[in-house]
Amino acid sequence: MATFESGLYYSESHEYIRVEGEFGFIGISDYAQHALGNVVYVDMPEVDDEVTAGEEFGAVESVKAASDLISPVSGTVVEVNEALEDEPELLNKDAFANWIIKVQLSDPTELDNLMDVEAYKAHCEA
């Protein structure tokens, strides 16, 4: 069964963001990795790329499907999780520990449009 982590912001398209100061760590939820199945490739942006809330910033490919990654916030990519290049299966092992990109938020008020863990849990069960 999928696990849910509190203290994070979630989007309808199953990305999460963990906010630390002016930075946010974006990844996919445990629910999303369960639904995708074995992840075989993660397509990530490059450092200094701009991401926009609600727009695609990469993709996750599993043996079942390829899904776009939709950014929950706008900002600048300051780091990508390079470990995922060789070991995309890290997303299956622990989706919350293995974030995909670290972003410097340009508009923290966008976080208000996202869900907390309880709302996200209800969204997944609906």
Binding site: A35, G37, N38, V40, Y41, E61, V63, K64, A65, S67, P88, E89
Partner: protein, 536 residues
């Protein structure tokens, strides 16, 4: 068949010096390359496998036995319409008079072939409710791209017209710009609306055509969210080039508001594109043209019984509504003499007298360029035309209804064991969301693998993406009740096995030449060429 031996790769069966022929001792082996310039000759051996003829024959016969096609058994692959390929189609396509044709042959020497080509265009137009078809695209996705290029050319021309009108008003000379410019200088219509449930080829084709994809949301039952569509049209209606739709949609559900949708898009100035992948459900019953679609492609290998196998050849004819014919690619086969029904004219054509040419090949200068080589895959068209004529006007009407009946019969008989996410009638295919009982841990993948043990091809799995455990079954109209009942029994057996012996299902297949393959390894580290060096 000794699979252990002949199931090896042909490279692994190679033994140095083995030959399938013997030449005289004094044969000059340099003979064939002697005339070639040094630069064109290999500097090292080609490392081809070396085998005797019998080993080669057994190897490939073994491979062919490992294959599974419609001729081997039930093949309920949803979304792909794996229809039986009647043998008469093959016989006709193999006739010397057709197979021996050269694409550059003068029109007066191949009137019969051109007549078949022309008649197939007309037949498809009639069945689709559209005006004209080009048969040139070589596959479904090629058809999608061609159709979108037609739409783009249309908007370009409309943009030019507008500019010309404005310039005329300013009392200036009419602009002589090229309406087939590959840029969008004269059209703001660059967006294509595509439902989130669409086949992946739709957004891919739009992107390749240089258009921007905008996703339209689906309702819970997988049909288009018309309110969301209205909202998008309000926001960006004047930028919409087209909306692409599959009907019935990828879940096998007929779009009940299709007339409203096509009307809304037309009012915004966009065109409607019909993805013909699921046309089989409608064949003989209703027509995309009557629903308001302007451009469509047909997969002859799905709806019109031509083979899918071996990666082709395919055929993806594109049809258009009246008023869009001038944007179809060339070459086109044109009938010069409208009195085709007149026996005298037919006789004249057969005698190949250039004075009485009925069918000519048009390479109009003003029309768009070719989208491929010559006329597309003519052999495939012959098979599709043979299929249409074999069915005839009366029987073609039974195709859609029987395909739909078969799918609904399977739906109702399997819903006790397999989770049915959408109530109500489906069309030619039915989607389940895995087993009803999820407690065993047996997934759709496991069910699909276990079906192989029972001699059935697996259905489509994990598509559509709307459900996590999609299992999409499309029986087609070809199958007898006995075949379908036997399949249903096996599906029930597997559901029972999932409870009594889940490991058996999770480790399936057990009776196939190769067991469960490692999907993850294959996706992460694909090995596509033979890498070991042959025996020196």
């Amino acid at each position: 068949m000794n699979r252990t031996l002949y199931g090896n790769l042909i490279f692994e069966l190679s033994k140095k010096g083995r030959r399938g022929y013997s030449l005289p001792q004094d044969y000059d082996r340099t003979h064939s390359t002697a005339e070639l310039p040094e630069a064109l000759r290999r500097s090292e051996a080609a490392r081809l496998p070396e085998c005797d003829e019998l080993t080669v024959v057994r190897h490939y016969t073994n491979l062919s036995h490992n294959n599974f096609g419609v001729n081997d058994g039930f093949y309920p692959l949803g979304s792909c319409t794996m229809k039986y390929n009647p043998i008469i189609n093959e016989e006709i396509a193999a006739m010397k008079a057709f197979a021996g044709l050269h694409p550059l042959q003068p029109a007066e020497t191949c009137q019969g072939a051109l007549e078949v080509y022309y008649n197939l265009q007309q037949s498809l137009a009639e069945l689709a409710g559209l005006s004209e078809f080009t048969l040139n695209p070589c596959a479904g996705a090629h058809g999608e791209l061609t159709g979108l290029m037609v739409i783009r050319a249309y908007h370009e021309a409309m943009g030019n017209k507008k500019i010309r009108n404005e310039e005329m008003k300013k009392d200036e000379a009419p602009a002589s710009s090229n309406s087939l410019n590959s840029t969008f200088s004269n059209s703001q219509r660059t967006k294509v609306l595509i439902p989130d449930s669409a086949h992946g080829t739709n957004p891919a084709s739009a992107a390749v055509c240089g258009l921007e994809v905008v996703e339209v949301k689906s309702l819970q039952d997988g049909t288009v969210d018309v309110d969301h569509l209205r909202q998008l049209l309000d926001e960006m209606g004047d930028q919409v080039a087209a909306m692409m739709m599959t009907n019935p949609n990828t879940l096998g559900i007929f779009e009940p508001r299709v007339l409203e949708i096509t009307d809304m898009v037309h009012k915004a100035g966009g065109l409607m594109y019909y993805d013909g992948a699921n046309l089989n459900a409608l064949l003989g019953e209703c027509r995309p043209g009557d629903m308001g679609f302007d451009v469509m492609h047909i997969n002859l290998h799905k709806t019109f019984s031509t083979p899918h196998g071996g990666g082709g050849p395919g055929s993806g004819p594109v049809g258009v509504r009246k008023g869009l014919e001038q944007f179809l690619p060339t070459p086109r086969v044109v009938m010069e003499n409208e009195k085709i029904g007149n026996e005298e004219n037919k006789k004249d054509a057969a005698s190949a007298s250039s004075n009485s040419l009925i069918f000519t090949i048009s390479h109009s200068q003003s029309a768009p360029l070719s989208v491929g080589s010559f006329f597309g895959n003519f052999g495939v068209m012959l098979k599709a035309y043979a299929y249409i004529l074999s069915l005839g006007h009366e029987n073609v009407k039974h195709v859609g209804p029987l395909a739909t009946l078969n799918a609904n019969y399977i739906k109702e008989r399997l819903r006790d064991d397999y989770l049915l996410p959408i109530e109500g009638l489906c069309k030619h295919e039915v989607v389940f969301d895995g087993l009803v009982d999820k407690s065993t841990g047996v997934t759709t993948m496991d069910v699909a693998k276990r079906l192989l043990d029972y001699g059935y091809h697996a259905p489509t799995i994990y598509f559509p993406l709307l459900f996590h455990e999609s299992l999409m079954i499309e029986p087609t109209e070809n199958e007898s009740k006995e075949t379908i009942d036997a399949f249903i029994d096996v599906m029930h057996t597997i559901a029972a096995e999932a409870k009594s012996d889940p490991e058996l299902v999770k480790t399936a297949p057990h009776n196939t030449p190769i067991g469960r393959v490692d999907d993850v390894l294959a996706a992460k580290h694909p090995i596509t060429t033979y890498w070991k060096s042959l025996e020196a």
